[in-house]
């Protein structure tokens, strides 16, 4: 049995031409990590093209890079020391390729940042230092390279160390160490040949082997973004498996989970896996799957947490730090997609607190956009509630990316969740769901038996636009088709459930919350509920969606002109023609799979 070897991913960053690829190439050669023939092949290529051989060519395997002499994308190199195996990622130093540097660096557990002794600290030395801290790389060593060009002068080296240390302290980063080296002559890489008697070591190689492995965060609270819910019935498999990668913590069979933002509860029945012994527990780092003791409806995008551990934050307003890589600036008044864990949600900028140039830390307030390669402090507003942890609590569940025009264009960390207009409702709903007494008949069983999906159909429009006649005609039609349907009159709620607040003046929000709770009970009984309301706004709908699961709501506007900002699933321009209106509604319900065709 051959002993297992440890493995580590590591990135080399720094300003363009400061010698990153040369350091890497030299490391490969000095440790005998190159495949036989590779060095000869590159040397032969150089000879063919009458170019002097450079160690960097080993890494810059792509042809057009060799012609331009710059690394345009992160390349991965595999490499071995006596201590362990490495994947070394060579990240480009050119400002244009910052997105490639970020890509490379984000895969690393530790970093070398290379500074040219002759050129000194440059724009991207600083920018890359900033990015490493944003990306959450905790171990960074600084190599002051090309010492041969400054005659291995100690004073030059110390000036660079002082200057760069001062910059790093301003962004709250403490490097592991500084190292003088010359990759071209090999000094300070794998060892020393006396050019720098004032430096007692360590060498680059020694520091490399001293980086510590990151361990899976199993001791933190359990967090698993739901990546998917599988039911492979077509393969004769009836298991319903909730799948996802555990980011932190651990769970066992029998543990009670809560899924956020929905607040649904379920207990782990089995832990599923393929070609392993049966598992009782899953931990951080594992791409896992489990079944629940009840068929609750959870979907991709929710965050699974343990019921007896701290709750995540759930809100639509996030205070964040982000960096922007897009060709177009990140602008106010434009909609983007936020991806956090497995969540994907439309988002826009509520406020840009300040924008910062990462290379000189110059900052601006009063901006309406964040330009390429800048970092910024912002408040983001999402169209649905998102579940996360503040990044200082848990880095893995507190970071996100922003998508613009099909591309990931930025990323960042959530500093805190801010209150939004639905917080007061959401808190009540969490408690409600936590205390919810379930019947022995699941919603799935009801759905199957009644042959319909419980749905809240909200019919809204201007006063006297004919909402009620349409609602009642729909109820009649569905009833005569054998459906279980109920028209929920607003007045029935107003004078009963709302009796205590009806005369208190501004009670609209609380009224909508109670109406939604009443509807929620009926939905839980498997009923299709038809309700009407005058000129609902999107804020009103947000309250309803906080109480009732959004996927169970259909919004219909009656009347020629939509006079509020509410998003709708259907507009009925001429509600006076009830028969036509009912046909349109029926068609919508069939399309959404709420009832089946043919009737």
């Amino acid at each position: 049995m051959i002993p297992k070897t440890e493995h580590m991913s590591l990135v080399i960053v720094g300003h363009v031409d400061h010698g990153k690829s040369t350091v890497l190439g030299r490391l490969l050669v000095d440790t005998g990590s190159l495949p036989e023939g590779k060095l000869e092949q590159i040397r032969a290529n150089c000879e063919r093209n009458s170019k002097p051989f450079e160690y960097a060519f080993l890494i810059d395997a792509l042809k057009d890079e060799q012609s331009q002499g710059i690394t345009i994308d992160s390349a991965r190199v595999f490499f071995r020391t006596k201590k362990r195996n490495y994947t070394l990622i060579d990240a480009p130093g050119h400002i244009e390729f910052l997105k490639n540097m970020v890509t490379g660096a984000s895969r690393a557990e530790a970093a070398f940042l290379v500074i040219d002794a002759e050129e000194g600290v440059r724009e991207n030395s600083r920018r890359h230092g900033y990015m490493l801290s944003m990306l959450g790389i905790r171990q960074t060593a600084i190599i002051v390279n090309k010492m041969d060009l400054v005659d291995f002068n100690k004073t030059v080296y110390e000036q660079i160390v002082t200057e760069y240390k001062e910059f790093l302290s301003r962004i709250g980063v403490t490097p592991i160490c500084f190292l003088p080296a010359s990759a071209r002559t090999g000094e300070g890489i794998a060892g020393f040949n006396g050019s720098m008697p004032w430096h007692e070591g360590p060498s680059v190689l020694e520091v490399l082997d001293s980086f510590e492995k990151e361990v899976e965060p199993t001791s933190k609270s359990f967090r698993m973004p739901v990546q998917d819910v599988y039911k492979f019935t077509r393969y004769g498999d009836s298991r319903r498996i909730v799948a996802g990668t555990v980011l932190t913590g651990s769970v066992e069979v029998g543990d009670e989970l809560i899924f956020f933002p929905s607040g649904k509860k379920g207990r782990i029945k089995t832990i599923e896996s393929f070609n392993t012994a049966s598992l009782r527990e899953i931990q951080a780092g594992y791409a896992a799957g489990f079944t629940l003791d009840e068929q609750i409806y959870v979907t991709r995008g929710e965050l699974a947490v343990k019921a007896d551990e701290p709750m995540p934050k759930v809100t639509t307003r996030l205070r964040v730090n982000l960096f922007w890589l897009g060709k177009e600036p990140f602008r106010k008044k434009k909609e983007y997609i936020l991806k956090l864990g497995a969540t994907r949600v439309p988002v826009h900028i509520e406020e840009i607190t300040r924008a910062i140039n990462a290379s000189d830390l110059h900052s601006d307030t009063e901006r309406d956009g964040v330009k390429r390669h800048e970092v910024a402090d912002c408040i983001l507003k999402s169209s649905r509630a998102v579940a996360f942890d503040a990044s200082q609590e848990s880095a893995l569940t507190g970071r996100f990316v922003i998508v613009d025009n099909y591309e990931i264009c930025g990323g960042g960390i959530v500093r805190e969740g801010l209150e939004d207009k639905q917080t007061w409702v959401r808190d009540k709903v969490f408690l409600r769901d936590y205390k919810w007494e379930r019947s022995a008949i699941s919603l799935e069983m009801r759905t199957e038996k009644y042959n319909q999906k419980p749905t809240l159909i909200i019919i809204t429009g201007q006063k006297n636009s004919g909402k009620k006649p349409v609602a009642k005609a729909l109820e009649r039609k569905l009833f005569s088709d054998g459906k279980i349907v109920y028209f929920l009159g607003i007045g029935n709620v107003l004078y009963g459930i709302d009796a205590d607040i009806k005369d208190t003046g501004n009670y609209r929000e609380e009224h909508i919350r109670r109406l939604s709770e009443a509807a929620n009970l009926l939905l839980n009984a498997g009923v299709i509920v038809v309700a009407t309301a005058i000129e609902l706004t999107s804020d009103d709908l947000e309250i309803i969606k906080t109480v009732v699961e959004p996927e169970k709501i259909e919004v219909v506007w009656v009347g020629e002109y939509v006079t509020t900002d509410i998003p709708n699933d259907l507009v009925i321009p001429d509600p006076r023609n009830t028969e036509e209106a009912v046909d349109l509604l029926k068609n919508l319900l069939q399309e959404r799979g709420i009832i089946f065709r043919p009737w």
Binding site: L62, N100, T103, L135, G285, A342, Y406, E407, G411
Partner: protein, 294 residues
């Protein structure tokens, strides 16, 4: 604490599940070799024993016969949804290297890249294995694939070391290596314009040694061409018989291959050294890959 192989396995599974959740029309390129067989095994890990999308094999008509036999055996045994595509025009017009009419690189481009492109968009004929009949038949479904899972590894050659896990291809299948999307924190490019597709690379971080260690750990069936059967030769990398040569090796099983890779004479010989087309491409597959080659 997890070992490195477990970390690789879990990231690959995570990537496969992201692909499945985001690409409605998803397929997996399956070359019969060790890498794509590990990829298939990881798929069963990700989906709890199932392979919920079709496998696509690009048949050049010059594959080593035993590879095709193995393909069809596994298809039946694991009840796989297997599709193959082929550049029928190039074969009919004898536009191939073995026919002596084109060079190796052009042959690869025609029989692999072009066949792959037309199979992905659904213009080329696809043949699907009918499990009831026990044979392939013309597939009526010509829908374009929007996500293609491919088992390339970054240690195979230079251009592959620059790949993304989710790597976009434009309408012409071209790979713009100079302008790839950023990819960090396990968030991938899952949004794409109509008419384009995304290549998904779950094995990017695996090395040749990792692949064999995993085959050993999981006891995954592999095609016997990889092993020495007494003549002191075995294949290290599989392809078309006119351009793929076996290496001298005594390794008779997975364990011996691992020892050979770790400590033996293969330590310093590149894996694809038995693949003649690489040498004709200026020392890498880059020309082929920019054009859509896997």
């Amino acid at each position: 604490m997890m070992d490195h192989l477990q970390q690789l396995e879990n990231l690959s599974v995570h990537i496969l599940r992201e692909a499945y959740a985001n690409f409605k029309s998803l397929g997996m390129l399956w070359s019969i070799g060790k890498d794509s067989t590990v990829l298939l095994w990881l798929t069963r890990k990700a989906f709890f024993g199932h392979v919920p999308f079709p496998l696509i094999h690009i048949d050049t008509h010059y594959k080593i016969p035993e590879m095709i036999k193995y393909r069809d055996w596994l298809t039946k045994d694991w009840k796989l949804n297997m599709i193959y595509g082929v550049n029928e025009a190039a074969i009919a017009e004898k536009q191939t290297f073995p026919d002596g009419n084109v060079d190796r690189i052009t042959c690869c481009r025609l029989l692999k890249t072009e066949a792959l492109k037309s199979t992905i968009i659904g213009e080329g004929r696809r043949y699907r294995f009918n499990h009831k009949k026990g044979d392939y038949e013309l597939d009526r479904n010509t829908e374009a694939f929007t996500g293609i899972i491919v088992g390339v590894r970054s240690d195979e050659e230079g251009s592959r070391s620059k790949e993304r896990y989710f790597s976009p291809r434009d309408k012409e299948n071209l790979w713009d290596v100079g302008d790839q999307p950023p990819e960090f924190w396990s968030q991938f490019k899952t949004d794409f314009k109509a008419g384009t597709h995304v290549r998904i690379h779950p094995l990017l971080d695996w090395t040749e040694l990792n692949i064999w260690e995993y085959i050993e750990r999981e006891n995954i069936p592999t095609v016997s061409l990889y092993y020495n059967h007494g003549d002191g030769k075995r294949f290290r990398s599989l392809g078309c018989y006119p351009c793929t040569y076996p290496i001298d090796s005594e390794s008779r099983n997975v364990g011996e291959i691992i020892i050979e890779l770790k400590s033996g004479k293969l330590k310093n010989i590149a894996e694809r050294s038995g693949r003649a087309q690489d040498k004709d491409d200026g020392g890498g597959l880059e020309t082929l890959r920019r054009d859509g080659y896997m």
